[in-house]
């Protein structure tokens, strides 16, 4: 497995990560090395093996549908890089 820089650029876009053009080559090399390590599992026969998503086979717990949270919007908005009138501010989305 060897990634080229176009693939790396594509992955970075999917992950919404700005990556320096000058670093794409290095990323391609190290990511390829990592993926070669991961590819070792391809040699294993896993016919009839069920996927395991979670270490304990538990059912999702349910609880009564009651209001448990208080209004913490002020505390949350206080953390925002930009907020106004109780809203998070982002660059204009709709022209």
């Amino acid at each position: 497995m060897s990634l080229n820089i176009d693939t790396v650029r594509g992955i970075a876009h999917l992950a919404r990560l700005a990556v320096d053009e000058a670093e794409l080559e290095t990323h391609a090399l190290t990511l390829s090395r990592c993926l070669n390590l991961l590819a070792e599992i391809n040699a294993v026969d896993t016919t009839d093996v069920t996927e395991m998503a979670h270490p304990l086979d538990l059912a999702q717990r349910l609880r009564p549908d009651e209001v448990t949270e208080t209004d913490v919007s002020a505390a949350c908005l206080a953390q925002a890089p930009a907020a106004e009138n109780g809203l998070f501010l982002v660059p204009k989305v709709i022209e």
Binding site: A18, H27, C34, P55, C76
Partner: protein, 484 residues
């Protein structure tokens, strides 16, 4: 005072031989004196700690103190502390002040424990050497040219240098046990679900588990008991009573069957570490336990399996850092996409970006089956190996890490080399089992860790074994001479 065990400290507080304020001052002085050389803490607020100590003393005067009231500790900076900066070792959260406490932070506070500060760590707990922290590497108190292990390297180094008697940590692939081993202290990763993950910043949610560091098993037992238990705020928390861990430390080990997986003693193991571990196992034999060779045939798959699943989960968990609601935001974003990309590109360090990209790749269309689902099947094979061996033995033992602490910079150029240093610990996370590392000797004045692994929810058995071993040995009482 800093050389007392937690049990001794609690006794001194109960007898009125010292106050929590005096204890807290003593540890804050040690932090001021020594942490410049270690960089084990990223946030220390003496006034905040002293206020908690005075409250603990007042509580004692009201006869409302619990067994740990007034004992100082450190929290890994992955646990949210209301009103106190929580960075997760990242520029992304460099000035993030959480509006609420993690459940375990709240439980420790309810027990009257005093928070001295927040421990340095690998960024978002992604690392095995504490070199990925935005706040600089932590140094190993036994040799400052070497790493303390990771990702809970700050917690482990601080306890080893006796800057605090106790610390919390988190363990996704060995992040408590490996630094405990490399720093010569005792560390326990409980069963998945035993300790609440609420307010612990998520890395890989099906693997992450909070745990404890102490100098010995008794100290770990006391802290675990204060932290563990059901939490309705964590959907994976298990509703099951918490045993009195400190009460079962003295059970005799006669008849205990210890399985020795051959795979832990393979080619990558430093022979000197292997010898120390063999000697430790002989101590258990003299205590009446029996040793049984066993096999975990799929253990070799654990590194590629883990480094597929953990980045996959991380890429999803870390998508919450968007530069909009909290955390780092880039300057002058041109549009929303630019805001996301540059905020994340600037806020995350190289290793975190690498894992997000690996995770994104293995989850992407066309690769999901070949990587992600395949790894989930391998996870089942690895887990089944453990289930099978626990039909014939009570516990497993082997080296926590294949070598002693390595030098700073030794593995930073090669992520694969770094990932392989987790070979003995990560299968335990994949299976959700409890694992404990305890000091078991030295190689060239650097600590060696012995790992004990138990069936689900058998933390008490591991602590019992470690305590019995520590009654026969004094490795856990040794301390780095530069931090006398």
């Amino acid at each position: 005072m800093h050389s007392l065990s937690v049990a001794e400290m609690a006794e001194a507080l109960a007898q009125g031989q010292c106050t929590s304020e005096e204890l807290t001052e003593a540890f804050l002085e040690r932090i001021a004196q020594f942490d410049g050389a270690l960089n084990s803490l990223v946030t220390v607020e003496p006034e905040r700690a002293l206020a908690q100590a005075r409250e603990a003393d007042a509580r004692r005067r009201r006869s409302a103190a619990g067994p740990l009231t007034g004992v100082p500790m450190i929290h890994k900076d992955i646990f949210l502390t209301a009103g106190q900066r929580t960075t997760c070792g990242s520029r992304m959260l460099g000035d993030f002040v959480p509006p609420f406490d993690a459940t375990i932070v709240a439980r420790c506070a309810a027990a009257g424990l005093v928070t001295l500060g927040k421990a340095n760590m690998d960024e978002f707990a992604m690392g095995s050497s504490n070199e990925t922290s935005h706040f600089g590497p932590v140094r190993n108190p036994w040799d400052p040219a070497r790493v303390p292990g990771g990702s809970s390297g700050g917690s482990a180094a601080a306890v080893a240098a006796r800057l605090a008697p106790l610390a919390t940590g988190s363990d996704t692939g060995g992040s408590i046990r490996q630094p405990a081993a490399l720093c010569g202290i005792t560390g326990l990763k409980p069963t998945y679900g035993r300790v609440s993950r609420y307010g612990m910043i998520a890395f890989a949610s099906s693997l992450d588990q909070a745990g404890v560091f102490g100098r010995d098993a008794q100290d770990c037992a006391l802290l675990l008991e204060a932290m563990a238990g059901f939490d309705p705020r964590d959907s994976t928390s298990v509703d099951r009573p918490v045993p009195h861990y400190a009460g079962s430390l003295n059970h005799p080990l006669s008849g205990l069957r210890i399985g020795i997986p051959a795979e832990f003693f393979g080619a990558g193991l430093d022979p000197a570490v292997g010898e120390a571990v063999e000697a430790a196992l002989e101590v258990f034999e003299t205590l009446g336990a029996t040793l049984h060779p066993v096999h975990l045939p799929n253990l070799g798959l654990s590194v590629p399996t883990y480094y597929t699943l953990a980045p996959a989960e991380a890429s999803s968990n870390l998508s919450r850092f968007d530069g909009v609601r909290y955390g780092h935001r880039c300057e002058h974003p041109a549009n929303l996409e630019d805001l996301y990309k540059r905020s994340r590109g600037e806020g995350f360090g190289a290793e975190v970006k690498r894992r997000i990209m690996i995770g994104t790749y293995v989850l992407s269309a066309g690769y999901y089956d070949a990587y992600y689902l395949k790894a989930q099947r391998c996870r089942r094979l690895i887990t089944e190996d453990f289930r099978r061996v626990f039909e014939t033995v009570d516990v497993l033992a082997g080296p926590t890490a294949p070598e002693v602490a390595f030098r700073l910079g030794e593995k930073t150029d090669d992520p694969v080399k770094m990932y392989l240093s987790d070979i003995n610990t990560i299968a335990v996370n994949l299976a959700g089992l409890p694992g404990l590392s305890l000091p078991a000797g030295f190689v060239e004045n650097l600590p060696v860790g012995l790992q004990l692994i138990g069936p689900h929810f058998e933390e008490g058995r591991l602590l019992n074994m470690a305590h019995q071993y520590q009654r026969e040995t004094d490795w856990h009482r040794r301390h780095p001479t530069a931090f006398a």
